[in-house]
């Protein structure tokens, strides 16, 4: 194993902050809240009828129809921001062992890496790319392709593509999010599923000869890790690349990662200057704070 200490260390720190419980609760929350969105949108007219000006009898339907052209020309902005929103959701989820970064060239392509910390694929470091359809969120579910086809029943041995579609048979806006795809990619390595495999050999071996399967997996993990320092498959400034530990380069970054947690408070203090509040917490009355003006 030539897994470098820098990465393993950072992975450990991230593990401390996150627990599996968190993921699950986050998952449930996400699923619960957006359920009414389409309902609200479709059921009610944009302008309640009684609120329309009586003097202006123009048809209520016109605004939306007539402006469809304008609407369309802003489409790319909506797409870009939808993807940005997805990305902030990923950040918020703090998925254990998963790191992604949108490519420089296009927000539709994200680079990622997943660290497997236990189980059959322990110590695996798999780089992958996520391809998001350009009609997102109304299209198919995003694709996830491993740089090197991992030996796994659900990973295409030629293309490296993970069979994501089985988990998201129909991609539903507001319900499905890209972080869920990433979550799925992680789960796959802990709970092996052999039905309808993309890699029948792996599926059969897992069913019939686990030992051989295990040794094949170990070989595959070794192979992937041996290519860790290779140039990124796709030439992009934001592609994820690994390099051997070099104190001159990495030590400082590591320092920063460990001191990072202290910074928000300092930041907080500085920013306090601009806003004002004399409302006592828990009160809804202005100037309810008992104490003297805050700055003394």
């Amino acid at each position: 194993m030539n897994l470098n200490p820098f990465w393993s260390m950072s992975a450990n720190t991230s593990r401390k902050q996150r627990s599996d419980n968190e993921e699950q609760s986050g998952h449930g929350e996400q699923r619960a809240s957006p359920a009414r969105m389409p309902f609200g949108r479709k059921q009610l007219p944009p302008i309640p009828k009684n609120a329309a000006p009586i003097t202006k009898p123009s048809p209520l339907g016109t605004p939306i129809q007539s402006a469809n052209g304008t609407h369309a020309s802003y489409g790319p902005f909506y797409l870009e921001y939808s993807l940005l929103a997805e990305f902030t959701l990923v950040i918020k989820q703090k998925l254990p062992g998963i790191y992604v970064q949108p490519s420089h060239k296009s927000a539709l392509m994200w680079f990622g890496v997943i660290f497997i910390r236990h189980g059959l694929y322990q110590d695996g470091v798999f780089k992958f790319t996520v391809y998001i359809p350009d009609n997102y969120p109304d299209g198919e579910c995003p694709k996830l392709v491993f740089d090197i086809p991992v030996f796994h029943p659900l990973v295409d041995p030629v293309s490296g593509e993970l069979d994501v579609r089985r988990a998201f048979t129909k991609w539903r806006r507001n319900h499905n999010h890209i972080w869920q795809v990433l979550m799925y990619a992680r789960t796959v390595f802990y709970k092996i599923n052999t039905t309808d495999p993309l890699n029948p050999e792996a599926a059969v071996l897992y069913e019939k000869d686990v030992q051989l399967f295990k040794s094949k997996v170990v070989d595959s993990v070794k192979l992937c890790n041996s290519h860790l320092f290779d140039q990124p498959k796709i030439d992009d400034p934001y592609a994820i690349s690994f390099s051997p530990w070099n104190p001159a380069v990495h030590e400082e970054a590591k320092e920063r990662m460990f001191t990072y947690k202290r910074r928000p408070e300092d930041h907080h203090k500085v920013s306090q200057a601009s806003g004002l509040s004399w409302v006592k917490p828990g009160s809804t009355q202005p100037f309810s704070k008992e104490d003297n003006p805050p700055q003394s």
Binding site: A51, T70, L79, K92, S106, K280, S283, T284, P286, F287
Partner: protein, 998 residues
């Protein structure tokens, strides 16, 4: 004269000479000189010719000023001989180095032993103590204090005569003496700041004279509000003492309890305010607030701002006791008695002017404590039983300049990121979540992942303004490369890029390009960028807020509106400050006894307090019954200030002259307090106490501020040809009047509405034609009589009936229905507050608003939309949120405006051309606007509305279009506003969800 020689003479030459001389020789020379001086001094000593020192405590200072006549004149040659000797002696003293281990040098020791300075001072008193003499002495000390090489002030024999001199100088009014006095005081303060140990001595010295005071400080007070160098030096010196007070409890206590500092400072603001122009010349229609280049033209305003800035600085550095006291005085001595009535003056111009001043003050104040004072005045104070805030909000709907200025004021208020302001203006109406369907509460916190709201907002873009319709220079379209890989922006480059992607991606056909072939409106990128900055700074600022306002915290069910207590300030202030704070107000009340009552004879002590603190002209019923809008009394600013200064100085001065009745400040206070209590008793009968409610609408209403106006009965209205003048209710909101006509179908044209209004009024007032012609700017003011009653009715009527949709859509809204507390009283009734209501109704009227009103209006709404609080954000931007039927949303109003525009575009053939012309006009305006904005620089908002329009545009060919075509400009603006809102909505979907450590 001697001192001038001393001060201006060749000091350097002298010191050069002295440098070579050994200290012993200097000492001998000094003693020699002194011996000569003593000879002359003793020769003229009236009491004894022995060497016994005259005791200063025996000598009567005032007697001394006339003393010269008692003992016969001193020959001129002897006087000048003394001067010459003293001059040399002073140089020797100045140049002497201190002895070993900080001991006194021999000359200084001699000076202290022989009490030289004191005897010299007595000598000058023996002679004619003219201004010139004072000047000499002051310069002498100024030189000693400033240039001596060893500390002199630690020694009582030096300090005491200095104090005597200072107190004797306090009575002079000669500018030269004053200037020198202040300079010396300033220098003393610098010495104090460097060496606070002297402070004790200053106090002790005073105690010797039987008064506990801090002379240096008290002497500076009269110069607080002085203009020019003298004032500046005095303020600098005072600030030094203020920062001393922060560390020295005794100084703080003394200043807060025994001096006139805070009241003089606060009431001085009132005095200076009264000298400001009551009506501003409005340069053009666009004008909406006082920029720096405006007030730099107004000396009186500069002076006021100087003093305000000084208050700000004092509050920043002074001890909390002083700070609290000052703040309380400013509230009770300036804001409540002066600014509140000024905000309720009788003519639109006056009210507009006051509003502009208030806006400027808010932008000038930086210290949170002072800002809090101003804000609590605006939010909590009731004038005529109506919150100032409500009055200000209602004025947004006023046509003409007042409405614009009011909008600018609210732009300032909203830009403060102050939770209290936002709570009162908007949030408190949203907290109960009554404005939305119950099932929608969870939507409040939802994020708009797919920019659905932005899309819906942009979909309101009028067809005539779609980007595809604009001709090239205006159609700032550019290819925006969402796939950033290609350097070349042309299409071929992109397709190659696309191909290379496909090839790389194992032929699976993954398209990674976002709309690279589409040409997009570049300006939208600027809006996104601005939105990002705006939301970011807002989020950061709001971190200090007490709650997230997300529909859960504060909990909607528990929301208790409660009664707003007036000065939240006082509960917090120390008891002492409170007690004292009431005084200037009492003085205030005393000075404006209603003319009807017989004022008591002025106090025998002649301790008059200046009337000028009251900015409100005292008016008799007769005066108001004359004709036309009441004229303010001829402004006498210099006299007022002069008077105030004189009074203050007299009071201060009094404490240091022993034979005077006033031994110290405390006594003066007692005297004034007695006088006050007399006044209060007198005034309390007719006007009642300040905090008590007065009943508006009665025939004779003696107003709290001393205005005594008679409300004309309908008969009187008939009699006066033009009933514009007399109003019991200082609130001159025309929208209140317009409300009368809300049921009337109003045309688009504002003037038409006016005519309608006046006709209605005329009808109600008794059929006699109102002569409102010729005064185009004033037709707003009639019908006050009716309004008073309307106001009374509103609460009841509102709670009884549900507002009907038509009313909500009346062009001028129904703001006055929603008086303070009405919404909170009717907690269950969906209502988003008068502020939102008035903004939306003005927005609905966008097509007839002037360009400048629309710029301000959209600027305010955009700023509101940038606030991160989910309650506010969801209300303004979430187009999926389902509201109660009676609640109007921003989106609905935008849709209405869009429909109006579509109709207009369909009915006018040249509409598209006009729009192009308007776009050109706006683009041509932009560079100049940015220019003036930069030079002005005083505006707090960095989201200048004009600045965001049509950025980076090539220079256009301007075509003629009249600004009268408001509907055309409004259409252009509307389209831009949609983009701005959409951009804000899009940025919210990202920014509000990024954890703060980002």
């Amino acid at each position: 004269m001697m001192a001038s020689v001393v001060a201006n003479g060749n000091r350097d030459g002298q010191s050069l000479v002295l440098k070579g001389v050994d200290p012993e020789t200097c000492m001998i020379v000094f003693k020699n000189h002194w011996a000569q001086v003593v000879k002359i001094l003793e020769k003229h000593d009236p009491l004894r010719s022995s060497s016994a020192l005259p005791s200063l405590s025996v000598i009567n200072l005032t007697a001394s000023s006339s003393g010269s006549s008692r003992f016969g004149p001193i020959p001129g040659d002897e006087a000048s001989a003394v001067q010459n000797y003293v001059e040399h002696m002073l140089f020797l003293l100045m140049e002497e180095e201190s002895g070993q281990a900080g001991a006194m040098g021999p000359i200084l020791e001699f000076v202290v032993m022989e009490n030289v300075m004191e005897r010299l001072f007595v000598w000058s008193l023996r002679r004619e103590f003219t201004d010139d003499m004072k000047l000499e002495q002051l310069k002498m000390y100024e030189m000693l204090v400033g240039q001596a090489r060893q500390p002199l002030l630690h020694h009582k024999p030096i300090l005491r005569p200095l104090m005597m001199l200072l107190s004797s100088c306090s009575s002079t009014t000669a500018p030269a003496v004053e200037a020198e006095l202040v300079l010396l005081l300033n220098q003393l303060c610098y010495v104090l700041a460097k060496d606070p140990s002297i402070l004790e001595l200053f106090f002790h010295t005073s105690e010797d004279q039987g008064a506990t005071n801090f002379l240096i400080f008290s002497l500076l007070i009269p110069f607080i509000h002085r203009e020019g160098t003298v004032g500046q030096q005095a303020r600098d010196a005072l600030l030094l003492i203020m920062s001393l007070s922060a560390e020295n409890e005794r100084v703080a206590k003394h200043i807060a309890e025994n001096t006139f500092f805070c009241p003089v400072l606060a009431t001085g603001l009132s005095g200076l305010y009264s000298s400001l122009p009551t009506k501003l010349e409005v340069p053009n229609e666009e004008w909406h607030c006082l920029h720096k280049e405006d007030w730099l033209q107004m000396p009186s305003l500069i002076q006021f701002l100087n003093s305000l800035e000084f208050c700000n600085a004092v509050i920043q550095v002074a001890h909390p006791d002083i700070r609290d006291q000052l703040v309380s005085y400013i509230y009770n001595g300036f804001l409540v008695p002066v600014l509140a009535p000024a905000l309720h003056k009788l003519t639109l111009e006056e009210v507009m002017t006051t509003t502009a001043y208030l806006d400027l003050f808010l932008r000038s104040v930086t210290e949170p404590a002072l800002l809090q004072t101003f804000l609590s005045f605006i939010l909590l104070h009731r004038h005529e039983n109506v919150h100032i805030l409500d009055t200000l909000v209602s004025r947004i709907n006023t046509p003409f300049q007042l409405g614009i200025v009011s909008l600018a004021l609210f732009r300032t208020l909203i830009g403060l990121y102050c939770e209290d302001v936002m709570l009162q203006l908007v949030l408190r109406y949203l907290i109960p979540c009554n404005h939305m369907m119950l099932s929608q509460r969870r939507v409040v916190r939802e994020r708009d992942c797919y920019s659905a709201s932005a899309a819906k907002i942009l979909a309101l873009t009028p067809s005539c303004c779609s980007p595809d319709r604009s001709p090239p220079p205006l159609r700032q379209l550019d290819s925006i490369l969402f796939s950033k890989g290609g350097e070349t922006p042309d299409n071929s480059g992109n397709t190659e890029e696309k191909k290379s992607f496909s090839e790389e991606n194992d032929g699976s056909g993954n398209s990674c390009t976002i709309g690279s072939e589409i040409y997009l409106d570049v300006s939208y990128l600027h809006y996104l960028y601005d939105a990002r900055l705006s939301i970011n700074s807002c989020i950061r600022a709001c971190q200090v807020w007490s709650a997230p306002y997300d529909g859960e915290d504060p909990p909607p069910e528990k929301y208790q509106p409660g009664v707003l207590e007036e000065p939240g300030l006082t509960s917090r202030q120390p008891q002492m400050a409170l007690k004292k704070a009431q005084r200037p107000f009492a003085l205030q009340a005393g000075s404006c006894v209603p003319p009807g009552t017989d004022p008591l004879p002025v106090n025998q002590l002649e301790l008059e307090w200046d009337d000028s603190y009251d900015a409100c002209p005292v008016q008799t019923a007769d005066a108001s019954a004359e004709r036309g809008p009441p004229q303010p009394p001829p402004a006498e600013p210099p006299k007022h200030i002069q008077e105030m200064r004189r009074t203050a100085r007299m009071l201060v001065k009094g404490s240091y002259i022993e034979e005077n009745d006033f031994q110290d400040d405390v006594m003066v206070y007692d005297l004034i307090a007695k006088k006050d209590s007399g006044d209060v008793e007198r005034t309390s009968k007719p006007s009642g106490s300040q905090t008590e409610e007065t009943k508006p609408g009665s025939a004779e209403v003696p107003l709290k501020n001393g205005l005594n106006l008679t409300v004309p009965s309908p008969a009187m209205v008939d009699n006066s040809s033009n009933s514009l003048d007399a109003k019991a209710n200082g609130q001159t909101d025309c929208n209140a009047n317009l409300q009368n006509t809300t049921a009337v179908e109003l045309g688009d044209d504002l003037l038409a509405q006016y005519e309608e209004l006046i006709r209605t009024l005329d009808h109600e007032a008794g059929g006699k034609p109102v002569k409102a012609d010729g005064e185009v700017k004033k037709p707003i003011t009639p019908v006050e009589v009716v309004v008073v009653e309307e106001d009374e009715m509103d609460f009841a009527s509102f709670s009884a009936e549900t507002p009907e949709p038509e009313k909500l859509h009346s062009p001028f809204g129904t703001i006055n229905r929603f008086r303070s507390g009405s919404a909170t009283k009717n907690n269950s009734l969906p209502f988003t507050g008068p502020f939102i209501s008035v903004l939306l109704s003005r927005l609905e009227n966008m097509l007839s608003n002037s360009l400048h009103v629309n710029l301000l209006l959209t600027g305010i709404l955009a700023q509101l939309a940038a606030y991160p609080q989910p309650l506010l954000r969801s209300f303004l931007l979430n187009t999926n949120l389902v509201f109660q039927p009676t609640v109007r949303s921003l989106y609905q109003v935008l849709a209405i405006v869009k429909n109006q525009i579509e109709e207009l575009a369909a009915s006018k053939k040249d509409f598209t051309e006009l729009i192009t012309a308007a776009q050109h006009w706006l683009m041509a305006r932009e560079p100049s606007f940015i220019e003036t904005d930069k030079s002005g620089g005083s505006s707090g908002s960095n989201h200048q509305e004009g600045g965001r329009i049509l950025k980076n545009s090539p220079p256009p060919k301007p075509k003629a279009i009249s600004l009268e075509r408001t509907e055309v400009f409004a259409t252009v603006l509307f389209t831009e506003f949609l983009k701005e809102l959409a951009a804000i909505a899009q940025e919210h979907s990202i920014l509000s969800y990024i954890p703060m450590e980002e």
